[in-house]
């Protein structure tokens, strides 16, 4: 088996890649080996190394949602191509949607390959070329994909060193690599990656990650740990970067799909003949799927509008948002508090309910896809966080093999957890199939607000008891409907925390940090209420119950930087301060906020947030992500909620659904806590969870009013 071969034995093989060299491979890995020749064709002459990591257990690494992760126990860690021109290409199945994966993974690869960033290119998320790294979600790229890519690149580096050592007939440990150049000090010989790629071009290696593969130590980092600009920045500022909605194909047509007038509606009849006189318009009508294809999006829209006027629908009743919370509670099985005795006997008890509505991701680029069929093969360009999942959905939708589908995900305009689902790409493929031409489907903003999916709404009950020293003696916390992320309390107390399902009336899915925002809002507001009941300072109250050193550290850090001790003493109905903290996905966040109240309007003036995600890989990107998360979090905290009536979305536009803008930006102090002794974990989500409760607590500090429903609104505020 190849992983039992020594490096020398591997190098002694003739041009490898014959599938018979890897006897125990799963089906997906077989497919990936077949893909190798395609990679060589696309990237050109050079040396290709595919590195496979073998999981010890079938369950390790953790199973991924969405796309496959290789069959059997073999996963491709990395595919590295050394070009004759000296460019090293690393291929990854992760996507770039603004969260910074392109820069970060490039840095990790460049670090291990000992090559400057300018000599490295990262090919992302093209299912025809890259390994399946699973869905880009759950803050997984940093803790899981990054180490895999680094290990794979380190192994590839060792192969190349081995080639050089063999050529020069020296020991490998006498060689050095720096800036893509291998040198033998004693004989003063040098070889660049380009040289080796030229001499050994056409060779391809499939190897396992040797057990003794070591990654660069933090203290030796040159490329990781420092700010690195986004690799395609110039293309972005010049308008040259092609987003999924920009993809041009010869003969490209534009498609639109008929939408129901309300949720659950079914089509009874429609007359597509009304547009049969329209020039160059193709109708696609398959059961309840009705769409049009035209040479311009304007013409497609005109055709669809004409058809829609003839449609007759059955529209069933649907719960409205004003009855949402009662509906969620009524349709849930809420357990009783097992600590009823503690509550009955306690010095002080408190019971509250917190309400969190539906919100939408509102990515800057609405869902879009371009689909093109050729000889039974389908290529789709789309913005999805789940490229291999999308490939699977497409294969299933058209009953063809996954090997006939190629999904290409250009860096796209925002995901935030909102682009996991099969939608625009399925629609584009359906339209393209009938039209016999490539078709672009780009959702309108109204469609994005109505027919995508939402962060689940939630009703959260909290009940706790306190002793006469202000210590929590029991804690009962139930999330109805929105989920279990961060439902557990980090505070020391006897507790039962759980989430129960309900019948959420809207299409629900992931949104940045999932239910951690709802659960942290409820928990940190409730902690504040308990602190107030115990007449103890909110910071002191939390610290008195907190054993987790890293959570304590961010809380103390933020409070100190914010000058909490002095500011909390000021009593001013027009200015309040509040704080909140939380932990999720192995990272830790604490935020202090100052709010101003004027005419019952809440505005956030200052946020100081401390964040610990282990060792920092790219401080510039991390700062951008944290600032972004704080500002994005202002929306659901103060203004965002989906309003629906009788199955119709009533605020499906940017004029009515108010996302944060320039005017809303407070002074932000980002305190990066760099724990270089801890493994790097993701930072895309957790930085958003503390902002809403910090604001709610600040509002209470100023006004004495406790707001338990998001978005936060004081009585008397303009609607």
């Amino acid at each position: 088996m190849i992983r039992d071969m020594s490096l020398e034995e591997i190098l002694a093989q003739p041009d490898s890649g014959a599938e018979d060299q890897l006897p125990l491979v799963g089906e997906a890995l077989q497919a990936e080996l077949g893909r190798r020749s395609f990679v060589k064709m696309v990237l050109g002459a050079g040396l290709l190394i595919t590195v496979t990591s073998y999981a010890e257990e079938p369950d390790d690494p953790p199973p991924r949602r969405g796309g496959g992760r290789g069959g059997g126990r073999a996963n491709v860690s990395a595919r590295v191509h050394f070009g004759k021109d000296g460019i090293v290409t690393v291929l990854t199945g992760k996507v770039e949607a603004g969260q910074g994966a392109r820069a970060e993974l490039s840095q990790g690869a460049a670090e291990e390959l000992r090559v400057p960033l300018s000599q490295l290119q990262l090919v992302m998320s093209d299912t025809g070329l890259v390994p399946d790294d699973g869905i880009t979600a759950g803050s997984g790229s940093t803790p899981r994909t990054m180490p895999e890519i680094r290990r794979g690149c380190a192994a590839a580096r060792e192969i190349v060193l081995g080639i050089a050592a063999k050529k020069w007939n020296v020991e490998r440990n006498t060689l050095e690599i720096r800036d893509g150049k291998i040198s033998h000090a004693e004989s003063k010989r040098e070889l660049t990656y380009a040289d080796i790629a030229s001499e050994d071009q056409g060779k391809a290696f499939d190897i396992g990650v040797p057990d003794n593969t070591t990654l660069s130590l933090v203290k030796d980092w040159k490329i990781l740990g420092v700010p690195a600009a986004r690799p395609n920045g110039r293309a972005i500022v010049t308008g040259k970067h092609g987003y999924p909605s920009d993809i041009q194909r010869p003969g490209l047509q534009y498609g639109k799909v008929l939408r129901a007038p309300s949720y659950g509606a079914s089509l009874k009849s429609i007359d597509t003949d009304v547009v049969k006189e329209m020039k160059d318009v193709t109708i696609v009508h398959e059961g309840s799927f009705v769409g049009v294809v035209a040479p311009t999006s304007y013409a497609a829209d005109a055709a669809l509008t004409a058809i829609a006027k003839t449609a007759k629908w059955d529209t069933p009743p649907h719960v409205s948002s004003k009855n949402l919370y009662d509906y969620l509670r009524k349709n849930a099985n809420v357990p009783k508090n097992p600590f009823a005795d503690d509550v009955a006997k306690a010095d002080k008890t408190l019971r509250q309910t917190y309400l969190v509505p539906y919100v939408q991701h509102t990515p800057m680029e609405p869902r879009a896809a371009v689909a093109e069929w050729k000889d039974g093969n389908l290529t789709v360009w789309t913005g999805t966080q789940n490229p291999f999942g999308a490939r699977g959905s497409l294969a299933q939708a058209f009953n063809i093999g996954a090997d006939k589908v190629r999904v290409i995900v250009p860096d796209f305009g925002g995901g935030f957890g909102g682009k996991h689902s099969p939608d625009a790409h399925i629609e584009a493929a359906r339209l393209a199939k009938t039209a016999g031409k490539p078709v672009q489907v780009r959702w309108t903003r109204a469609e994005e607000f109505t027919w995508a999916y939402f962060r689940p709404a939630g009703v959260i009950d909290a009940e706790a008891s306190l002793d006469n020293k202000g210590k929590i003696t029991s804690w009962f916390f139930i999330n109805i409907n929105s989920g279990r992320s961060a439902v557990e309390t980090p505070y020391r107390c006897k507790n039962r925390c759980n989430s129960v399902g309900s019948k959420g009336p809207l299409r629900e899915g992931s949104y940045r940090a999932l239910a951690s925002t709802a659960n942290t809002f409820a928990r940190e507001s409730f902690m504040d209420e308990l602190a107030d009941a115990a007449k103890i300072d909110p910071l002191e109250f939390r610290l008195a119950h907190l054993d987790d050193g890293r959570l304590r550290a961010v809380l103390e850090h933020a409070a100190k930087k914010f000058d909490w001790a002095a500011r909390v003493k000021k009593k001013d109905p027009a200015l309040g301060v509040g704080l909140a903290c939380g932990t999720e996905k192995a990272s830790f966040v604490a935020a202090c906020a100052e709010v101003a109240i004027k005419d019952s309007e809440i505005s956030v003036r200052h946020v100081c947030q401390a964040f610990d995600c282990g060792v920092i890989l790219n401080p510039a990107n991390l700062t951008s992500q944290i600032q972004g998360a704080i500002i994005m979090g202002l929306g659901p905290a103060l203004r965002e909620e989906m309003i629906f009536e009788d199955g119709r979305m009533m605020n499906a536009s940017l004029s009515e659904y108010l996302v944060p803008r320039f005017r809303d930006v407070p002074t932000i102090d980002v305190e990066l806590v760099n724990r270089s002794d801890q493994p790097a974990v993701g930072a895309g989500e957790t930085p958003i969870i503390a902002i809403a409760p910090a604001i709610a607590n600040a509002v209470f500090h100023a006004t004495g009013q406790r707001l338990r429903q998001l978005p936060l609104r004081l009585a008397g505020a303009a609607k």
Binding site: A229, R230, D246, M364, F412, F416, T444, S624, Q627, S653
Partner: protein, 153 residues
């Protein structure tokens, strides 16, 4: 009924024969393949479609192409001179003033007009001038820094 509409785009004379009610945004993207200008909302509420029409920022998603007749249109693709970037483009790069970058063309075009009108804006003037543009990655803080930086030149 199609009409012929002639206008200059990024210094080049263009003539399109199309429904004059079509949005300028669509004509730029679909007819002229200038896809640097983006669709964000279609209701002039996000600024992603910003172009300069005779030097003034317009929301091309709500500007019928007929309004461009005889005028000059400047899009993101027309800002740089060969390899030399416009100072606003340079500033956005220097300040890392984008994450997904989808709003960036609109932000840059808005900032170009703002600085043409007000070469040394106060922070308040920058916020007011940019306030009709949305960024969902919420890179607002670095965008303000980029505009300040470009003004400093």
């Amino acid at each position: 009924m199609p009409a012929t509409i002639a206008f200059t785009v990024n210094g080049q004379q263009k003539s399109v024969s199309t429904n004059p009610a079509r949005p300028l945004l669509d004509v730029l993207r679909e007819d002229l393949q200038l896809t640097g200008t983006k669709f964000g909302c279609g209701e002039a509420r996000c600024g992603a479609c910003s172009v300069l029409l005779d030097g003034k920022r317009v929301f091309s998603c709500q500007t019928p192409v007929s309004k461009a007749e005889g005028k000059t249109v400047l899009t993101i693709e027309g800002l740089a001179t060969g390899e030399k970037l416009h100072p606003v483009q340079d500033a956005f790069l220097a300040e890392n003033a984008f994450q997904c970058g989808y709003c960036t063309a609109g932000m840059i075009m808005c900032a170009v007009e703002l600085l043409n009108e007000t070469p040394h804006p106060t922070d308040e003037e920058i916020i007011t001038g940019m306030s009709r543009n949305v960024c969902r990655c919420c890179s607002y803080t670095s965008i303000i820094k980029a505009v300040r930086r470009a003004a400093g030149k």
